[in-house]
Symmetry: C2
Subunit: 422 residues, 2 copies
């Protein structure tokens, strides 16, 4: 059977099954998630033994240790997956929310209501926890899930999907709302990305290369997640007591994630005071520094190593302890730099001046602007969403951290008593 | 200069100019629109004379009279374009609206605020009025407009853009927020569709073929507009007094538009009473009938001509006075038929039974469900939006009629006092 046919069949089965979700109550969807959580805990041994098969293969092919760690499941990690499902089950029902309501002069009653997309595809890499995390978020928001994970996690994904489907078989929700897309053949990914009309949305989760591939090749609507070249701008009116911890937290708290900062921009008026402290703190934290001419002079004066920042440096998402440092003339110049090199993810300003903060916000074009706080707060759980399926880096549909609500669309319900258009 | 370079330069100029929109107040954007409206009226003669050049070319190449009519501008039509701009200027400002607001336990203040996309491309066909209609909606929502019209309207579009830019030159908004993409070369369309990162959104407006091309070829996010195979389902609990006018209005009020109905489905219990009346009324209105076996028998009995509806018929958006008629066993069967042949646009149910209506709504997967009213009400102006840039036929971002609000995205503004992530 061709990859197109395989995916089309899975999508078609999933769409019919999705009706058991769209006609279910929030309480019924919640019960289904709790059943899934329970089964995952109960069948932990089976899950771990399937995962061991993937781990054996990974060791045999000498997978990078960091990747092996992502692939690995432990008893604790399985418990955490189940707990995650229970947390999602406790979230407010995102469906049936009346977003707008009005009565027209002709008596028609208009309601805009949140409804599921229908069938959503996930394309992701080696972490098997995504299989469950994504499935429960999609189910709770009323959508069927087509899961296309990595072939390196195939045994883990297969058992996790089986456990979830078995759990659903005891509920009012059809097990067919969760479908594992075979990962042996790369063609199934392509087939999923081009199943326009059959799949309503595809979300990539993983490396920049994976996201780029999905965005380039997909004819199904997608939500781009990921890349973040985030900036911290320390304004002339900054409180240095705040600026320093914000800078260090933004860069070093978890350098590998997309909301970590890559570039520090400092207003020229505060540079003489702030730059020496900042460079020393970064250097002490083990951060390699790429600096513009002004910042390099300061670094030299204090015997702090730095290289001259290139155009490529300014545009790089390091993901490790490296940072660009530059001096700018004004908030507008900072915004110009960010417009040129940023990726519209998260930008922070440190300032006590509200007008400057407003100007920075108006000139920024990103998912989140942080005023006097760390870039690391662009995060669904930190923002109180309770769950996150990814961080949207695009402007269409959802921007920034995506929770349950982002997995819904809307429908207009227009109720009349025989009105016709004149 | 290559088409890619032309479009990249226009987009870059438009993005810088967009700042004069994102930092402008609603009142300033409104003034800009009023200046545009005024200039269009004042310079009506120039506009008509440019349009005459396009009309001459159209006549020379024997363009279809209907297409010629779409291309034609008259003094009245120019006035209507100016009035349209004034209407948009009066609408509530869609920017800076606080969509969500909360304070986190750590004291961070979260606000989700509506902001412009930035640079939006429009790809459209021969109607020169779209040049102004689209530009003013985009400007009012804070976006720069890259306008790619048809080469057959090139003189009309050029003068309209010139008039709008000249009007902006007298305001605080940069004229560069409106850019005409050259239409002599087809390659500029392709360049616009692939200017990912430079253009934030592309919206097609025109024929099904144009929309399909944009959706297939674009790597820039797009919003699919258009196709509607809409159904009217007359339930067993229908009030026939309402059903008949709703059916006739849905089919015949303006058959060429996307919210016109193409298929009538009748519950078997009411078919003996309703079908004869419905078929007669359709026939009297000049509607050609394609029917299933049951409906054909009724038609024959009353000497009403019909052909046997094929699979292709059920899936066709006629756009003219033709309609499919079928009998179904239940509301679920109606929903099944619609799921198979519908285009997720607008579906109507006529019923006095609220539970059946709810079931129909839950099983429908479309932009708008009409309960006891005509499919023709899926329309931005009818729904009270005041302006419409198109009807979205997709689930991502906007669904159904799109007004100013649909041309905005959001940003999170997180304000702290030095908080860092622990």
């Amino acid at each position: 059977m061709s990859a197109e046919k395989i995916v089309a069949d899975l999508a078609s089965t999933a769409r019919i099954a999705a009706r058991t979700l769209s006609t279910a109550t929030g309480a019924e969807r919640k019960s289904a998630l709790l059943a899934i959580a329970q089964s995952i805990e109960t069948r932990s041994a089976e899950i771990l033994s399937a995962n061991e098969k993937d781990m054996e293969a990974a060791r045999a092919e000498k997978m990078h240790p960091q990747m092996q760690d992502r692939l690995l499941l432990t008893e604790e990690r399985v418990k955490a997956i189940a707990s995650g499902a229970r947390l999602v089950a406790e979230l407010p029902d995102p469906l049936g929310i009346i977003l707008r309501e009005s009565t027209l002069p002709n008596g028609l009653e208009l309601k805009q209501v949140s409804v599921p997309f229908g069938v959503i595809g996930m394309v992701y890499e080696a972490r098997p926890n995504v299989t469950v995390d994504a499935a429960v978020i999609l189910l709770m928001s009323g959508n069927s899930a087509l899961l296309r994970g990595s072939s390196s996690a195939q045994h883990s994904n297969a058992i996790l999907v089986q456990v979830m489907r078995d759990a659903l078989a005891t509920t009012k929700i059809s097990p067919d709302v969760i479908q594992l897309v075979p990962s042996e053949d790369r063609a199934t990914t392509k087939a999923l990305l081009t199943a326009r009309g059959k799949v309503d949305l595809v979300i990539p989760r993983g490396s920049a290369a994976l996201i780029r591939m999905v965005v380039d090749e997909s004819t199904v609507p997608t939500i781009e997640t990921g890349a973040g070249v985030c900036h911290v701008y320390v304004d002339e009116f900054a409180d240095i007591e705040k600026a320093l911890p914000i800078l260090i937290n933004s860069k070093t708290h978890r350098p590998s994630v997309c909301n970590a900062a890559e570039t520090l921009l400092v207003h020229k008026s505060i540079a003489p005071t702030f730059l020496p402290m900042a460079l020393k703190a970064l250097s002490d934290a083990g951060v390699i520094i790429h600096a513009d001419a002004t910042a390099q002079k300061v670094a030299e004066k204090f015997s702090i190593a730095s290289t001259a920042a290139t155009q490529e440096n300014w545009a790089t998402e390091y993901g490790v302890l490296e940072m660009n440092v530059g001096v700018v003339d004004s908030v507008d110049a900072a915004a110009d730099h960010i417009a040129k090199f940023g990726t519209n993810h998260t930008e922070a300003i440190v300032t006590e001046n509200k007008e400057v903060a407003s100007r920075f916000i108006a000139l920024s074009d990103c998912a989140a602007v942080m005023v006097n706080t760390s870039t690391r707060f662009t995060d669904g759980e930190q923002m109180g969403f309770g769950a996150e399926i990814g961080i949207s880096n695009q402007k269409l549909h959802a921007r920034g951290p995506m929770g349950l609500e982002a997995m819904t669309t809307t429908t207009w319900i227009v109720t009349g008593s025989g009105q016709i258009r004149i």
